[in-house]
Each structure stands twice: as structure tokens, then as C-alpha cells.
């Protein structure tokens, strides 16, 4: 049974979401602010309770907002998938959320069926990225770097780097398409679940991050190439 942390200060919404998730068989916990959310996640990380498989995170919170919670989680090495749920639906808000570490974004008001589908999708994507059912890929070697998709880790010699869900999914897509050009539109659709027309620098930023993890010299990439005007290609 997956365990979900709901971070929502609006009591009616929190109660409604909790009720529906429990009806779907998830185990849930509700907190009303960013601080308690980080505490609950840290406690689970210390083994003081069952781990969370997903966080539903509101952006506008009383003292510590959702953007900062996502950022602090990632800084602290917590890569639990995050579904941001908020009234702010402008494209720049979506991009800001995704760049700070959210894995998916749903604006209020939302359809209950869409919310449930997104939660299932995120949990499935995490399983897929971790080499679960149907993905057929648990690890890869890129130059000196060894990527373990089960643990979201890249080991290069002594250095160990943890990947976020989206970073792992992007890398996995590139590994599975090695030698082939993968377009930005395809990445947006398959990894971010966004329309291919979305105008964002998020993909470029994520590619730059992956280069820092994989390449001996990120400015002169040997493995992860940009094909100008077309997309990206990984050569193994």
C-alpha cells in the first residue's frame, strides 16, 4: 500500500483529498504547513515511521511555502515524488515548481479523476524509473559513470550523486534511445507530462545538470550531445 503525505492548509480540501485517497486504498497523513511537512518527511527518513511514496504539496502555505519545501527536500537528498497542487496556474508558476523539484503539477480546481490518475501515474513513473515492471532497465554505464535506476544513484569513481525522479526519467529515456536524437517535444511529453509546445528552459537546465553528473568536462560533452535545433543524443 502506497503512503502519501498531503500538505494542504485548507482544511476542506485536505479532508476531501484524504477521504478519496483512503477510499482508493492509499495510506495518508495530512499536515497544514511546510515546516511540519519537512519534519514528517525527515522522521520517516530516520525510520521513525513508514516512508512516504508521494507528497501532494500545496504552494500557498501559512509560513513555509511549497516551492521552498520542494527545494529543501531536494537539497536534503529527499527524492520522494512531489505532486504540486495549487491555485497558481500560470506557465511560469508551473515551470518554477518543476525546476525546484516538483515532479508533476495540478492546478485548482481539478477533476478528482485527474488527481487520482496523476497520483497513479507518478507512482508508476517512479516504478518505471526504478526499473520496475515493463521498463527493462535497471542500470547503465555511461563512460566512467554507473547509473543505478533502482536507487536513482550515479557513481563516478568515489563520487555518488542522487537523481530526482525527473532526472532519472530523462536519463532513462536517453539511455533507452541511445544513439538516436530525442527531441525536446518528446522529452516534455514523456518525462514532464507537458504539452510538446510548452515554452520552458527546464529541459535545457536538466540536460546541463545531467552533464555535470556524467561528463568529465560538461562544457565539452563526450556522451550527452546537443543536436542544434533538433534535440539531444546520448552516445554510450
Amino acid at each position: 500500500m502506497s503512503r502519501i503525505l498531503i500538505v494542504e492548509d485548507e482544511q476542506h480540501l485536505a479532508t476531501g483529498i484524504k477521504f478519496n485517497l483512503e477510499m482508493e486504498g492509499y495510506d495518508t497523513e495530512v499536515v497544514g504547513d511546510g515546516g511540519p511537512a519537512l519534519e514528517a518527511l525527515a522522521a520517516a527518513g530516520r525510520g521513525e515511521g513508514p516512508a512516504f511514496d508521494l507528497v501532494i504539496l500545496d504552494v500557498m502555505l501559512p509560513s513555509l511555502d511549497g516551492f521552498r519545501v520542494a527545494d529543501r527536500m531536494r537539497q536534503a537528498g529527499d527524492y520522494t515524488p512531489i505532486l504540486m497542487l495549487t491555485a497558481k496556474s500560470l506557465p511560469e508558476d508551473v515551470v518554477q515548481g518543476l525546476e525546484l523539484g516538483a515532479d508533476d503539477y495540478l492546478s485548482k480546481p481539478f477533476d478528482l479523476t485527474v488527481l487520482l490518475a496523476r497520483i497513479k501515474g507518478l507512482l508508476r513513473r517512479r516504478d518505471w524509473a526504478q526499473g520496475g515492471e515493463g521498463s527493462g532497465l535497471e542500470a547503465a554505464r555511461i563512460g566512467d559513470a554507473v547509473v543505478d535506476f533502482r536507487t536513482f544513484e550515479i557513481r563516478t569513481g568515489e563520487r555518488l550523486t542522487r537523481l530526482t525522479l525527473l532526472e532519472a526519467m530523462l536519463l532513462k529515456l536517453l539511455v533507452q534511445s541511445a544513439g538516436r536524437i530525442v527531441s525536446k517535444a518528446e522529452i516534455l511529453e514523456k518525462v514532464w507530462n507537458l504539452s510538446p509546445e510548452t515554452q520552458t528552459r527546464a529541459v535545457d537546465n536538466f540536460i546541463a545538470r545531467l552533464r555535470r553528473y556524467l561528463e568529465p568536462d560538461p562544457r565539452a560533452p563526450r556522451f550527452l550531445h546537443t543536436v542544434r535545433g533538433t534535440g539531444y543524443r546520448l552516445t554510450l
Partner: protein, 322 residues
């Protein structure tokens, strides 16, 4: 139809005062430079030497223009800063209204979807209907606030009618008690049975509800609000709302009646609201040629809001306590 708040404010001052002032300053600077050039190159100084007094006139005029230039620059900076602050407040307001409108809509939709999707026992359905009803009230209150901010301006009330302020305040207290499900001790009333004033009943009710709403929202965990009404002897009626909550910092006090003003950043929403409540109260009170005053001993020490209305029609009857 009354002009909206934004229309009125636009009519009161030019839309881009700093732009026209900037142009005027450029003209002054050019006049100053060209003037000195002409005096320097076309025999001006020799002319001035010939006529001693003329030199002093030229210096005096030049210095005046220079001072004008400096003063204008200072004024432009002040105006620009004001513009920046207003833009920030407007952006905060849009975020706040977005949140205040979308949150209850999202909640109602979630409960409707749940009712449609799931087979629920009657008691659970009743719970959900109650929740939806509360969300509808919240939505309605936000819409009313936005409309009120556009409707009630500082202009004098067009058609004042006799009304009973004491009765109006007691009804507002009852509405607030119901809305926030407060116990009888959470909000007390002290004042006369009847207090006849002349004014716009709907506008005054909105103002009083906003004051009470604020007192509850900013009360913290223990809600203890004292409401007092009466006449102060010189033909004025007054209403005082005192809470024992979070209080107001000295730095924030001068700004709390400004439109869109909310304490803190909008992405952190410690309290629901749009930043229009106290602006509406002030507009309504000004429309009645009254005054409004806020005081607070400091953070966590409560606040007191006092409004006075000059249109008392008759002396107050016997006081009563609710």
C-alpha cells in the same frame, strides 16, 4: 452606477505623473544647459559685465532652475517608489483573489466529484453538503468584498436614510457568530438598544461585517472580541471593535487601510483574505463623512478599531449587553 475604486483613483491623479514630470525636467535641464552655452559663447558674460545687475538676475534664474531640477528629481524618485509599491500590492491582490476564489471552487468541485463517484451513506453525504455550503459562503463573501471595493468609494453617500446602527451591529455580530461557529462568549456587545443615524445601511453593514471578520481572523486561537457602540456627546455615533489577537506592528499601522495591503508575502498565506476588507471599511466611513482609527499596543497584544459617524439623529437609548 458609482465609479469603481480604481476609476476614482485614476481620476484623482494623472496616470503617469512621473512621465510628464520627467519631460518637464528634461525641458528645464535643456533650457539651463542651452542658456549657459549662449551666455558663455555669445558675449553673454561681457554683456553681463556691462550691466552688473543683469549678471545677478542670470545667476539667480540659473540657480532657481538648478534647484527646480534637483527638487524634480527627488519628486520623481518618490513617485516611482510609490508606483512600484502599488504594483507590488496589486500583484499580491491578484494572487490573494486567485487563491480566495479558486480554493472554495476547488473544494466544492472535489466534494461534488466525490458525491458523483462514490456510493456514500446518508450521514457522510450530509457532511459533504455542509462543507460545500460553507465553501459557497466563503466564495460569496470574497465576491461581495471585491464588488464592494468597486462600489463604495469615498464619495458622500448619495441618498442617506435613517437607520438603527445598534440593531445593524447586533445583526452583524450574529452573522459572524454563525459564520465562524463561535460560542456566545467569543464576541460581546455593549451599547444602546437603539442608535439612530443617517446613512447607507447596506454599506455600513458591509463595513461592520468586515471589521468583525478581521477581528476573528486575527484573533489567534482564543477568540475574544469586544464590540462597543454609542454616542460620544457631540452629535457623533461611534463603534469600537477590540480583539485580543495578533495585533499590528508600528511599521504596518499606517498602511493597513490601503487597498490590496496585506501583511507579509502572498505566497505565505497566514490568513485568508484579499487585502480589501479595511480599505472597504475606510471607504464606507469616509462616504459617511466619518473617521476611522486603528491602534495596537504591538504584536500579539490585540488591536482596536474605532469608527465615528457624524450623522447621529437622536440621543442613544438605554445601554444593553448581549
Amino acid at each position: 452606477m458609482p465609479a469603481s475604486g480604481s476609476q476614482l483613483s485614476a481620476a484623482k491623479r494623472p496616470k503617469w505623473p512621473h512621465v510628464s514630470m520627467g519631460i518637464a525636467l528634461i525641458v528645464v535641464a535643456v533650457a539651463l544647459t542651452v542658456g549657459w552655452q549662449i551666455l558663455g559663447t555669445s558675449g553673454g558674460p561681457s554683456l553681463a559685465r556691462e550691466v552688473g545687475t543683469l549678471r545677478w538676475v542670470v545667476y539667480l534664474f540659473g540657480s532657481l532652475l538648478f534647484l527646480l531640477l534637483i527638487g524634480g528629481l527627488v519628486l520623481i524618485v518618490i513617485l516611482l517608489l510609490r508606483e512600484v509599491r502599488l504594483n507590488e500590492r496589486q500583484s499580491n491582490f491578484i494572487s490573494a483573489v486567485t487563491h480566495e476564489l479558486k480554493t472554495p471552487v476547488a473544494s466544492i468541485k472535489l466534494y461534488l466529484d466525490t458525491l458523483r463517484m462514490r456510493d456514500l451513506p446518508e450521514s457522510r453525504r450530509e457532511d459533504f453538503y455542509r462543507t460545500m455550503d460553507q465553501d459557497l459562503q466563503r466564495l460569496n463573501s470574497t465576491i461581495n468584498n471585491v464588488l464592494s471595493a468597486a462600489m463604495f468609494t469615498d464619495r458622500p453617500v448619495a441618498d442617506p436614510q435613517p437607520l438603527d446602527l445598534a440593531k445593524l451591529v447586533r445583526r452583524a455580530i450574529e452573522l459572524t457568530r454563525t459564520r465562524y461557529q463561535l460560542g456566545p462568549d467569543a464576541m460581546s456587545y455593549e451599547g444602546p438598544e437603539s442608535l439612530r443615524v443617517s446613512g447607507d445601511a447596506a454599506a455600513l453593514e458591509t463595513a461592520v461585517l468586515n471589521l468583525l471578520d478581521n477581528a476573528v481572523k486575527y484573533s489567534g486561537d482564543r477568540i475574544d472580541v469586544d464590540v462597543e457602540a454609542g454616542s460620544n456627546g457631540d452629535g457623533q455615533a461611534y463603534l469600537r471593535v477590540r480583539d485580543h489577537g495578533v495585533g499590528i506592528g508600528r511599521a504596518q499601522l499606517p498602511f493597513i487601510f490601503n487597498r490590496f495591503y496585506r501583511i507579509g508575502s502572498e505566497v505565505r498565506r497566514s490568513r485568508a483574505g484579499t487585502g480589501l476588507g479595511l480599505f472597504i471599511v475606510r471607504s464606507v466611513v469616509k462616504g459617511h463623512r466619518g473617521t476611522i482609527h486603528a491602534e495596537s499596543p504591538g504584536p500579539d497584544r490585540g488591536s482596536t478599531f474605532t469608527i465615528t459617524l457624524p450623522s447621529l439623529l437622536e440621543a442613544a437609548a438605554e445601554p444593553e449587553h448581549v
